[in-house]
């Protein structure tokens, strides 16, 4: 796709982590028995009236502040359309005066992605179509659960600043980290408390014009998001290159088939007949409240990445740094480095060996000691992994754990002696190694490392052996 550029803008809906719904006192809780968390207000019964949830406003403001939005006075509108799971047949949402406008967030790569707005609205109920393959057409009947109706949503509308499925994936991961860090949402894509729609278009590389876009609805995992965007961009390029035209439409991602399908054509825009919601008064949080929210913000992922990168003296875009923050292990890493741990090895362990949430209980000083042992060749990489697993499981002192496992320190002299022994026992292979090019040496490295490992019962460090072989070959070349 060298001649083409993908343009992606995401709309992310997240359910706010409030105790109650947006306009009534019903519990905001996932997974309860259908139609148990309902009242006249969230069912939209005649005569019922909405009363705005203060906590929802606060959470919306918190997200706005975290992504550098202007947090401002706002009003609610009605968005009118008929759907069986929408009790009033209109959705109360924010339209031209949303609570948050004009922000941005920073991806681990340092790229800033614009956020046009993040507005409050109510969720709809949930329809289950029984019979006929689970889609509304041909269904024998439909069941509606209104537990979700009226749950507060924040719709975060990003600008079309993303250029690939991978960037989109990073953006959603970053947004998710921010939502979790601020306590705004539990952001569980699998439970639907975070839902992503992607607007995808393609254009000739270097062009400023936006192409015709398709909207892919309800992407429910980071993996689907990346794949769906890549597929859709490819589809559009193929269409354009064969003289076709992209139709503006809504598409559905089929995870199993790995492709998108037409959901409905959007040749004419829907007319929602927005007008100001007369049952609610304007929301004016006031500068004092906005300021309080800003001051109470926790340290956010981008800032945490910067702190870790600076502690480890690496570039902030280093993948291990992003992973550490994503897994909430950056605090541990910074503390381990502060305790004298080897930065590179600390990051390696965080990236590869500490996927388990239990690692949060790991003593940073123990991790620091462990890396010192590795650097001093007192432990091989394999042995270090085993010791770390034990520390995560039961805690303790890395030296004692290594000793208990019989991981004897193998001094440099002993290792050199073992290498010499293996060379002496395999003169033909050694000659080929010594005289060979890089490719030949590469092939034979495995042979020698294996023999040395066998001779030392696995206590040798493969990397050290390789280094010794290279050194020996270099010195005997002349």
């Amino acid at each position: 796709m060298g001649d083409w550029e993908t343009v992606v803008g995401l709309e992310v809906h997240c359910e706010l982590a409030t105790a109650t719904k947006l306009f009534c006192g019903c519990p905001n809780r996932f997974g309860d028995e259908p139609n148990t968390n309902v009242c006249p207000v969230c069912l939209g019964l005649p005569g019922s009236l909405p009363v705005l949830n203060r906590q929802a406003v606060e959470l919306a403001m918190r997200l706005g502040a975290a992504v550098h939005c202007e947090v401002r006075p706002s009003i609610f509108h009605r968005k009118n359309y008929f759907y069986p799971d929408m009790p009033k047949d209109y959705q109360v949402s924010q339209y031209d005066l949303p609570i948050n406008t004009d922000g941005w967030l920073e991806l681990p790569s340092g790229q800033r992605v614009g956020i046009e707005r993040a507005h409050l609205e109510e969720d709809t109920g949930k329809t289950t179509h029984v019979g006929g393959g689970g889609r509304i057409h041909q269904a024998a009947h439909s069941l509606v659960d209104y537990n979700r109706a009226g749950v507060p949503l924040l719709e975060i509308v990003g600008r079309p600043d993303l250029r690939s499925g991978e960037q989109a994936r990073q953006y959603v991961a970053e947004l998710r980290s921010i939502l979790l860090a601020t306590g705004v949402s539990d952001a569980k894509m699998e439970e639907g408390s975070m839902r992503v729609d992607a607007n995808v278009s393609v254009r000739a590389a270097g062009s400023d014009m936006l192409g015709t876009r398709c909207e892919i609805k309800n992407l429910n995992s980071l993996r689907s998001l990346g794949r769906a965007i890549e597929y859709e961009a490819r589809r559009q390029v193929d269409l354009l290159e064969t003289g076709g035209r992209v139709r503006q439409e809504t598409r559905h991602w089929d995870e199993e088939e790995g492709r998108t399908h037409t959901l409905r054509s959007k040749e004419e825009a829907d007319d929602y007949r927005y007008f100001p919601e007369p049952d609610l008064v304007p929301v004016d949080p006031g500068s004092a409240w906005i300021e309080r929210v800003r001051e109470a913000l926790p340290v956010l992922p981008a800032e945490r990445r910067t702190a870790l990168a600076s502690a480890a003296a690496v570039d902030a875009a280093t993948p291990a740094v992003a992973i550490a923050v994503e897994r909430d292990l950056d605090g541990l890493a910074v503390a381990a480095i502060a305790a004298g741990g080897d930065p590179a090895r600390v990051l390696t362990h965080v990236e590869h060996d500490l996927t388990d949430e239990r690692a949060a209980g790991l003593d940073p000083a123990a991790l620091a000691t462990l890396t010192t042992m590795e650097v001093g060749s007192l432990l091989t990489a394999t042995q270090a992994k085993q010791v770390l697993a034990e520390l995560v499981e039961h805690g303790g002192d890395p030296e004692a754990v290594a000793a208990a496992k019989g991981f004897e320190a193998m001094g440099a002299d002993a290792l050199a002696a073992a290498v010499e022994q293996v060379i002496a026992a395999n003169p033909a292979e050694w000659e080929r190694y010594r005289a060979g090019d890089d490719k030949e040496r590469g092939k034979l490295t495995g042979f020698f490392v294996g023999r040395v490992m066998k001779a030392t019962q696995g206590q040798a460090d493969g990397k050290a052996v390789t280094a010794l072989l290279r050194g020996r070959a270099a010195s005997s070349a002349d």
Binding site: P40, L43, G44, L45, P46, G47, S48, L49, P50, V51, L52, R78, N80, F82, P84, P87, K88, D89, Y90, I136, H137, S142, V144, A269, D271, R273, Y274, F275, P278, D279, L280, V281
Partner: protein, 481 residues
């Protein structure tokens, strides 16, 4: 006891133990039995429930408790006020079989004040109309002349009070639906300041205009009922915080020193005999010590046009929920959209459909600015013009209706002439202000004439003072048949 006994008189007697709430109720039920078949003021009379409630009032009095300021007073409720377990129909087929699981705040308050609910009164379907002929259950007739309409949309409530079925009733006023029928039936009808009475439990027609208010035969009774229902309700976001105006104590204060404006614009198209009564009313206020001058509020002439864009627009949205999915009528069809359409076709009457179509059009993308947007600007203009007038005067006086009660069927085929019935009342709703219609004599046909007093938001105290003066000065009207 006569049918003109006041609510305050009844409550005083019941609270003092001089008479029982049960006896009061039975007298009213007898009158209902005698004349309801002819008038059709009610959609439903709840005699059994009322007896239980009246007995409870009597039990409390016997136990030494005070059942409240409206102890034992029968009250009729417009059938768009939700009452737990009792059908609320809005006089529409589409709500067939629906019993709300909750009670409107205003109704809760009158019940807590000791009033006894006798029934749900007829209305124009979803409160859309000016004659109560748009009811799916048949029209209500004017107690003064059953060949004539009682006005609308709270025609059932107005007729119930005029006929002596109950000394008090609640109605709702979106563009005059309390004041216009009050005028045509010769009773007092109050539209309180928007936000003073909670709308929780009032089935919405046009949310930004709807307001619940009292009907009574006397100004003092209306004031007592107003004080019971007014006040902040956390369940209504548009409800005004803080204490509502106290009006009962103001009733005896008279109007000496008040500046009253005779509204210049609302004279064209008004019947001469009605205008004559309005001028007499102004003279009466002057005689009581007020100063009267003619005051212009130019933008009110656009009120009707703005109203017939804003009210239908909100109605088109508020009535979307009657789709056959969750409650009320459902007409089965092949798929959801067809079921929605068939249900709405069968369930709504012609006037409701007309307004839904008007409102849908006014809000649609290409026309929003030309219609809804412009109407909202007119609304702002009206509010501004009223504010300017209230810098000059404390109150305004105008006719409540262009004519006295008109014959049934006269305007049903001509929606525009029907809409003109509310030309005097609508501007108040657009501004969110207070207004009252006070009976003031009769027209040349012997039918009641209502004079309207208008006050700014929260201006109820001075409005009731003037209403009490007009009531005392009113020429004798025709006796009830």
């Amino acid at each position: 006891m006569s049918s003109t006994e006041t609510a305050l008189g009844i409550a005083g007697g019941v609270r003092a133990g001089r008479r029982s709430a049960r006896d009061v109720l039975e007298e009213h039920l007898e009158r209902i039995e005698a004349r309801e078949p002819e008038l059709h003021a009610f959609n439903l009379v709840v005699a059994d429930e009322a007896r239980v409630a009246a007995d409870e009032v009597d039990r409390r009095v016997a136990a030494g408790d005070d059942p409240g300021p409206l102890a034992g007073v029968p009250i009729a409720l417009k059938d768009n006020l939700c009452t737990r377990g009792i059908p609320t129909t809005c006089s529409s087929r589409i709500l067939e079989g629906w019993r709300p699981p909750y009670t409107a705040t205003a109704v809760q308050r009158v019940v807590a004040a000791g009033a006894v609910v006798v029934g749900k009164t007829n209305l124009d379907e979803f409160a859309m109309g000016s004659s109560t002929e748009n009811s799916a259950f048949g029209p209500t007739r004017n107690p003064h002349d059953p060949t004539r309409v009682p006005g609308g949309s709270s025609g059932g409530s107005a007729a119930a009070v005029a006929a002596g079925f109950a000394p008090l009733a609640l109605g709702s006023d979106t563009g005059g639906s309390i004041r216009q029928p009050a005028a045509l039936c010769g009773v007092v009808g109050v539209k309180p300041t928007y936000g003073l009475v909670s709308r929780y439990g009032l089935v919405a027609f046009a949310s930004s205009l709807d307001q619940i208010g009292p009907f009574a035969r006397t100004v003092a009774d209306a004031a007592a009922l107003f004080e019971v229902i007014a006040g902040h309700d956390p369940r209504d976001s548009t409800s005004i915080p803080g204490p509502p105006p106290e009006v009962s104590l103001a009733l005896d204060e008279g109007v000496a020193g008040l500046r009253v404006g005779l509204l210049a614009e609302l004279r064209d198209g008004i019947a001469p005999d009605v205008l004559a009564r309005v001028d007499e009313a102004a003279t009466a206020l002057e005689a009581a010590g007020a100063t009267v001058e003619v005051v212009s509020v130019p933008a009110v002439t656009y009120g009707l046009s703005a109203y017939y864009l804003i009210a239908p627009a909100e109605a088109s949205s508020n009535l979307a929920r009657y789709d056959g999915v969750r409650y009320g009528l459902r007409v089965d069809a092949a798929d959801t959209a067809a079921m929605n359409a068939a249900t709405r076709e069968a369930g709504f009457g012609a006037e409701v459909k007309r307004r839904i179509m008007l409102g849908t059009y006014a809000l649609s993308a290409g026309y929003y600015d030309a219609y809804y947007g412009k109407a909202q600007r007119v609304r702002t203009l009206i509010t501004r013009d009223f504010a300017r007038a209230y810098e000059q005067v404390d109150l305004l006086v105008s006719p409540a209706t262009p004519t006295t009660a008109f014959p049934l069927g006269e305007k049903t085929s001509d929606p525009l002439s029907m809409y003109l019935s509310d030309v005097c009342t609508i501007p108040t709703n657009l501004a969110g202000h207070a207004a009252v219609s006070v009976p003031f004599g009769t027209g040349t046909d012997g039918l009641p004439v209502g004079v309207q007093l208008l006050a700014p938001a929260m201006g109820e105290a001075r409005m009731f003072r003037a209403a009490a003066v007009l009531e005392a000065a009113a020429p004798a009207g025709e006796e009830l048949r």
